[in-house]
Symmetry: C2
Subunit: 765 residues, 2 copies
C-alpha cells in the first residue's frame, strides 16, 4: 500500500518524475535468477544487453544421451546450463541461450580450482573426483551484467562481468601453490561426446591464449574463436586430449602435452597453473569472435583495454539501465516491479550481437561478411519471438529491430535457399519449428514504420522464402492450397502459419504498392479455410485426396496435425482474419463458449505428460501459457464482444503465471517471448496480429508507465484507480480521445502524451 501511495504521488509530478527516473537504477529490480528453476531455461550469468558473450555458471550437468545411447530426459532442463536447485558448479561458459526450447552453445567452460589437478568436470571411472565445486545460494548474487559465487570446494570467490564481446572473470584465490584455471573445450550444453568437431589452442605468451572450437550441434557448422588474457602470467600449462582419434604427426618425438604452445584436436581440456597468495585475485578477459582469433583479439583490446573489473561492471550496468529505463513503471507492489523489470531484462538477452567490433562476421555460407550500415544479430527463434518480442522491440528497441531485419535480409542473401531465417544462430539455419515468421517481423516493422531497411528488398526476400517448394511441405501447400496430412506432419499448424505469413507478405506488397503480389498472397492467406472442417467445427488434418482425416482427437497434441498444441487451442490461430475465423467456428457466442471452455476444462493427465515443454504450472484448463501457439488467445474475447473476459484472463495470467522468483516462468522463456508477453500485457495491450499496427487492449498491471522512445518522445500510460480488484478497463483515452474497439494503434502508442486506462472492479459495457 505504501508503494501505491508513493506511486500516486509521483504520478502527480510528471516532469519531475522523468527527471528522477533517468537517475534511477532500474537494475536493482532485475532478478537474473527469475525462472532459473524448472523449465524457464534462462541463466543468471553476466551479459551486456544483447551481448555476444553471455557468461554464466553451469551446474551439475546431465548428458543428453545415457551410456546405453538412450535419451536422458533430464538434459532438457539444462538448456541454459543452470538449474537453481543444483548444489555444484562445473564452471562458467561464455555462450548460452536464454529460454530456448532446444539448446546448443556452452562454449569455453572456465573453472578455477586449487589442489591436485583434476581435468574432468564430473566423476569418471578414471578419477574419484570431478573439478566441480559445491556452492551455496547464500554466497551467490547476480544483477544485470554481474554474477558472483563462492566456489566452496576451493575457497575461491568467482565474479563475472561482460562487455558486448568480452567476458571478464575475477577469481579471488586462497593461498595455494597449486592454483589452476581450467579451460574446458569439451563441455557443451546438451553435452554428448560427439558434438565437438575440432578445437585449436595457441599459447601466444605467458598470459595470452587464443583458439577456436567448431561444433556440430544444433548449429551444424558452428565456429567460435576466442582470445583469453590473464592478469598474471601462468607458471606452467598443459592439456589432455579426450579422444584417441587425433593424428599427432608421424613422429611423436617430443613432449607436446605440457608447456607446448600449440594444441589441436577434437576434445581437449587445457589448464594453466599459478601460485597464489591468500586473497589474491587473478583476472581473466575472454573475448569471442565468429571470424578469427585476430577478430577476438581486436574485440578484446577494443572493448576492455584495461584491468579494471569494476569499470566494466559499471559500464555494463549503465548500459542495462539505459535499456531498462525506457519503460519506467510504477506498480502495485515491489514484486510486480521486480517481475516487470526482470521480464524486460529477459527481452534484452537475444538476438545477440554477432559481429566483431569491425563489423565482420561469419555468414551462413561460412564466408566472412561485413555488416554495412547495420549491426548484425543472430539467434532468431522466430516461431516464438515474432509474436510479442519483435513487436515489443518496435517500441523499446526500434533501432535494434531495424538492424535485426537487416540481419535477416543478410541471412537471406547468404542463404543457398534464398530464404529468410527460420531459427538461426551462429551463421547456421537449424530449421526448428514451422512457418517463415521472419515475414511477420518484417511486416510488423513496415506497418509500424520502424527502421530504414529496403522495403522492396525485404518483400522480395519474403516472396523468395514463401516459394521454396522443398521446404517443409511448402510445395504441397502451394499446390493443394493446404498442407496435406498424408504428405507432411503438423499439417494443420503449417497451413495456418503459412497462411498468416502470406498475409504478412501481402501487407508488405500493399505497402510498397505491388498490387498483383498483394493479390497472390492475400489469396494464399485464406488457405486456412481449407483445413477447417465444418463438420467437427475444428481445424483438422486433411488428406491430399481432399478428405479430412478420419482419426482425429482435438485434445491430443501429438499426431493430430498440430505441433506443440492441439485443435482446441492451436486451431484458433488465424490472427490475420479473426472475425472470419469466429464466423467459421459458429459466431461470437459459440466462439466465446469455446474460449470459456478452453480456460476451464479439465484436461486428462495423459494429454499433459506427453508435452515436455509444459508443466501443470503453465496450463489453465486447455490453455497453455507455457508455450507460444496460444499467446494471443486470451485477447480473442475482444473480437467476440467480451473484452472483460480478456481483461480477466490477462490479469489472471500475469498474476498467477509470473512472479519474481526462481520459479517465475511457467515454461521456456523462449528467447524472451514469454517475458515480452508479460511486458506488453502489463502495459495494457498485446500484439495479437503482428504485421498490423494495432494492439488489442487488455488490462494493464502497472499503475503508471512512462515509455521513452528514441526520438525523445515519451508516452505516459496511466491506469487510473489501479488495484488488484480493478481489473476491468472502462475506457481508454489517448491524449483525451477515447479509443474504440479495444484497439490501440502503434501511432497512438508512440506519438507521445498520455494514455489513460480507467480501471474498475466491475465491467459495464
Amino acid at each position: 500500500m505504501k508503494n501505491s501511495i508513493l506511486a500516486a504521488c509521483i504520478c502527480l509530478l510528471c516532469a519531475c518524475h522523468v527527471e528522477t527516473s533517468e537517475k534511477e537504477n532500474f537494475t536493482q529490480y532485475v532478478n537474473p535468477f527469475l525462472g532459473t528453476s524448472k523449465m524457464g531455461h534462462v541463466f543468471p550469468g553476466a551479459t551486456a544487453p544483447f551481448g555476444m558473450v553471455q557468461l554464466s555458471p553451469q551446474t551439475n550437468f546431465e548428458r543428453m544421451f545415457n551410456e546405453d545411447g538412450s535419451y536422458n530426459p533430464d538434459t532438457y532442463k539444462y538448456c541454459a546450463g543452470y538449474q537453481h536447485q543444483d548444489s555444484t558448479i562445473i564452471g562458467f561458459a561464455h555462450t548460452n541461450f536464454s529460454g530456448t526450447g532446444h539448446s546448443d552453445l556452452g562454449d569455453f567452460l572456465v573453472m578455477p580450482t586449487t589442489g591436485e589437478l583434476v581435468l574432468d568436470p564430473i566423476l569418471t571411472s578414471e578419477h574419484g573426483k570431478g573439478f566441480y565445486s559445491a556452492f551455496s545460494h547464500d554466497s551467490e548474487a547476480a544483477s544485470p551484467g554481474y554474477y558472483q559465487v563462492n566456489l566452496d570446494s576451493y575457497n575461491i570467490q568467482a565474479e563475472l562481468t561482460a562487455s558486448d564481446r568480452v567476458g571478464y572473470h575475477k577469481y579471488t584465490f586462497p593461498k595455494s601453490e597449486e592454483a589452476h584455471i581450467i579451460l574446458d573445450m569439451v563441455y557443451n550444453v546438451y553435452h554428448h561426446e560427439n558434438k565437438n568437431v575440432w578445437t585449436f589452442i595457441r599459447i601466444e605468451n605467458d598470459s595470452l591464449v587464443t583458439g577456436y572450437r567448431q561444433t556440430k550441434g544444433w548449429a551444424r557448422t558452428k565456429k567460435v574463436f576466442f582470445a583469453m588474457q590473464f592478469s598474471k602470467p601462468f607458471q606452467s600449462y598443459g592439456h589432455k586430449k579426450y579422444n584417441e582419434e587425433t593424428y599427432d604427426g608421424f613422429y611423436r618425438r617430443f613432449n607436446q602435452t605440457e608447456n607446448f604452445p600449440e594444441i589441436a584436436g577434437k576434445d581437449i581440456r587445457a589448464y594453466f597453473n599459478f601460485n597464489t597468495e591468500e586473497g589474491e585475485s587473478i583476472e581473466m578477459k575472454f573475448a569471442l569472435s565468429s571470424v578469427s582469433t585476430d577478430g577476438a583479439l581486436k574485440n578484446l583490446n577494443t572493448e576492455i583495454p584495461h584491468w579494471d573489473f569494476k569499470k566494466t561492471r559499471q559500464e555494463t550496468q549503465a548500459k542495462w539501465n539505459v535499456e531498462l529505463s525506457k519503460i519506467n513503471v510504477t506498480t502495485l507492489s515491489l514484486d510486480d516491479k521486480k517481475t516487470f523489470y526482470s521480464a524486460l531484462y529477459h527481452t534484452n538477452l537475444s538476438p545477440i550481437i554477432y559481429e566483431d567490433v569491425d563489423g565482420k562476421y561469419r555468414g551462413l555460407d561460412q564466408n566472412i561478411h561485413s555488416s554495412d550500415g547495420f549491426t548484425n544479430y543472430t539467434i532468431f527463434s522466430l516461431w516464438d519471438t515474432y509474436r510479442a518480442l519483435h513487436p515489443l522491440f518496435n517500441i523499446t528497441q526500434p533501432e535494434r529491430n531495424n538492424d535485426m531485419v537487416k540481419s535477416m535480409l543478410a541471412h537471406h542473401d547468404q542463404s543457398v535457399h534464398d530464404m529468410l531465417p527460420i531459427w538461426s544462430h551462429y551463421g547456421n539455419e537449424n530449421w526448428c519449428m514451422i512457418g517463415y515468421h521472419a515475414t511477420s517481423v518484417i511486416a510488423d516493422a513496415m506497418a509500424k514504420n520502424v527502421g530504414d531497411f529496403d522495403h522492396e528488398r525485404a518483400l522480395q526476400a519474403s516472396v523468395n522464402t514463401a516459394n521454396v517448394r522443398y521446404f517443409d511441405g511448402l510445395g504441397d501447400y502451394i499446390d493443394y492450397q493446404f498442407v496435406p496430412d498424408d504428405k507432411s506432419h503438423s499439417s494443420v499448424s503449417k497451413t495456418l502459419e503459412y497462411a498468416y505469413n502470406d498475409w504478412c507478405i501481402a501487407q508488405m506488397a500493399i505497402q510498397v504498392g505491388n498490387d498483383s503480389l498483394a493479390e497472390v498472397f492475400l489469396k494464399r492467406s485464406e488457405y486456412y479455410y481449407n483445413v477447417f472442417d465444418t463438420g467437427s467445427g475444428y481445424m483438422r488434418p486433411r488428406l491430399s485426396s481432399g478428405e479430412f482425416r478420419e482419426a482425429f482427437d482435438p485434445m491430443d497434441t501429438h499426431g493430430q496435425g498440430f505441433i506443440e498444441g492441439n485443435a482446441w487451442n492451436y486451431g484458433l490461430y488465424v490472427p490475420q482474419d479473426i472475425d472470419k475465423m469466429i464466423d467459421l467456428m459458429g459466431g461470437n457466442t459459440r466462439f466465446t463458449q469455446h474460449l470459456d471452455s478452453l480456460f476451464t476444462m479439465e484436461i486428462d493427465e495423459k494429454y499433459i505428460e506427453k508435452h515436455e515443454d509444459i508443466t501443470r504450472d503453465g496450463i489453465i484448463g486447455n490453455y497453455v501459457h507455457g508455450n507460444e501457439p496460444g499467446h494471443h488467445i486470451p485477447y480473442l474475447y475482444n473480437w467476440t464482444g467480451h473484452p472483460e473476459k480478456t481483461q480477466e484472463r490477462v490479469r489472471m495470467i500475469m498474476q498467477t503465471m509470473y512472479d519474481p522468483t526462481v520459479e517465475g516462468l511457467c515454461g521456456n522463456d523462449d528467447a524472451g517471448q514469454m517475458s515480452a508477453w508479460y511486458v506488453l500485457s502489463a502495459l495494457g495491450f498485446y500484439s495479437v496480429t503482428p504485421g498490423s499496427s494495432d494492439y488489442a487492449i487488455g488490462s494493464p498491471l502497472v499503475k503508471v508507465a512512462l515509455v521513452t522512445f528514441p526520438n525523445g518522445k515519451t508516452t505516459k500510460i496511466v491506469a487510473r484507480n489501479q488495484n488488484r480488484d480493478n481489473i476491468y478497463v472502462s475506457s481508454v483515452t489517448v491524449n483525451g480521445r477515447k479509443i474504440e474497439n479495444n484497439t490501440l494503434t502503434h501511432k497512438e502508442l508512440t506519438g507521445g502524451g498520455e494514455i489513460i486506462f480507467e480501471m474498475t472492479s466491475t465491467f459495464s459495457k
Copy 2:
C-alpha cells in the same frame, strides 16, 4: 651414336641453338609416369608448375589401417595416390604430394560414372560394386599439364588439365540417361575413417557447387575450400552421409538428402546426375582456396573464365616450357634427355603456390593473411629439399626461391613457437624429421646473393628457431653441447644436423656483420665433435653422463642414434667442416677407405628390410641413394684427393639409379630432392654444403647444357669428349680460366659464358 653427332653439331652453332631452343617444346621429353611404380611416390596427373591444384588419378587404394586396427604396409606406396601396376581408378583428386616420404591430401575425389548410382569407391558389404573403373595404360597419356585415360567400366574418356589453382576436367560420355559425376569428400590419401573433421557443400545453382573440407591428417588442422562449376546443368543431385554422428537438427521433417542444396557432415559423398548423348562432353572446373569459398570462386573466375579446355591445356604447357627451357641440354641419348627433363619437371612440383589470386591465404595461426610483395608457398619438406632442391632453385628459380624464403619467414612470424618451418604444408607444421633446415635454405640464398628478403629478419628468425628449447632435444643440445641419447632418440643425427644448421646461421651472421652472433653459432657448429667416438672411429650415441653408449651397431639404422641411416653413412654428415671430419676419422687415406667400403660392402639383409623407404634398388653397398642423408657422400672423395672416385660414383649412380621409366626413381622423390640431385649432378656439380656458394665438381652426364638465368645471362656448360666411357674430368675451365680444388662457385656458374669440362676415359692427377 646418332644423337651424339647431332648434339655435337648443335654445339658448334651456339647462337642458333639458343634461338631454336626457345621454340623447342621441352615438355615432349617429360614422362610424368617416371617413378610412378613402387616407391617413387610421384603422380602422373595434371598440374601447372608449382600449382596448388595437382589433379591426379587415384588407383585402387589401400586403407592405412586394417579393420583390426593394424597398420597396412601396402598403404605406403600410395603416398601420391597412384601406383602404375594398378588396373583400376577410383577417381581424380585435386591435391597430391610429389614424392614425399609420408602423406596426406587427396582432397576432393571426382569420378564420372554411368548406370546405377554407386557411391562407394570400392566394394563394401553394402554394395556388390564400387564406383571404380577398370583402365588400361594403352588409353592413358600424360604430359606436363595434361592427363587422359579411358574409364573402361563406363566408356568415359577423362581428360584433365589445370591452371595454378583450378583443375579442369573434361569427361566424354557415352549416351546415357544415368550419367553421374561423383564428388567424394570422404577419400583421403592414407585413407582411414577418422581423418575427416568436417565437410560442407552448397549447391549454389544448377551448375555451381561450393564447399570445403577440414581434415586432421598429417596437417592437423587443414581446411581446403572449393568451387566446382559444370559446363552443363545437372538434372538432379543428392548425397549420402557415411557416419551417424551428424546432428541434423531437432526436426528432420523434410528431405534433406536429395535436391536439397545445403549439405554438411563428417563424411559425405555427393552426386550430380545428367543425361548425356553419345560422345557428349561435360566439362568441370574445380578451383581451390585455403581461405574461403569466396576465394575459390575468385580463383576460378580469374584463372579460367572460359570453357576452352584446349586453351588452358596450352597455357599450362607453355608455362611448363618456360620452366623446362631454362636448361637446354644435349645428352648422350634420348633416354638421358627424358630422364633429365622428367627430373627437372619433378623439381617444379613443390613447394606449391599457397594463396588466392588476391594474395590471401590461411596461415599457421588459422587466421587469414595477405602476402605482401611475394607469392606464398607451402609444402616444405626441408630435411629433404635443403640439400639440392633449393640450391637448384637458386639456379633455375631464384625468384621463386626468394618467395619461398619469404614464405618461411611469414611462417615464422605466424608460428606460436617463433620457428621457421620444419616440414610444413597447408598452414600446418607437421614436425616431420629433424633439424631446422630452413636455416640452410636461407643461408644458401644469402651466400648466393639470391633474392631481396630481409637478411636481418631472416637471421633473427633463424636464431629464434635455434633456441626453442622444447623442440626435439634442442634444449639438451644447447646445455650438453650434444643431444644425449638417453634424453632423445636419433641423438647423433640431431647433433650433426643442428651443428650444420648452426653453421648456416653463423654464415648469415657473418654476412650481416653480426660478429658476436657468428661466434656463438660457429661454436655451436662444432658440437659434432662431441658425438665422435675416437675409440670406435664413429659418430656414436652419447649419454648425458658424458659416456658413449655401450650398445652400438654402426650398421643398424634403428635405435643407434641415427634416423633413416646408420653410423657408417649418416656419420659422414659434417658438410660444414669436411676436412676436419676427415681428420677426425683418421685422415684422407683412412677416410677414402671408409668411402670405398661404404660403396662396396655386402649388407646383411636384416639391415635393409627394416627400412620402409628403400628397396634394394636404391642401395649401393651401404650407400643409400634412395634416401637423403647420404646424398653428399659420393662427392666427398673430392676432399680426400680422389675426385676420380667421386666421378666414378656419380656417373654410376646417374646411370643405374635413374631412367625414364615408371621405375626410374630408386626411392621417394622427396618433393623433388632426388630429382634435383640428378639435375645438378648431370650438369657436373653438386651442392655438398648448402650455405656456401661452392659446388663440388662431379662428372657431368650431359654433353651440353645451356642455362638461362632470369637476368637474361646464359651459361653454357660443355662436356668435351663426352661419352659413356669418358667419365673422368681432366679439367674444368670457366671462360677459359681453369678452376682449382674441384670447386665451382655460384658466381662462376651464373656469371654467363662457358664452362668446359674436359672428359677422359682415364684419370690422371
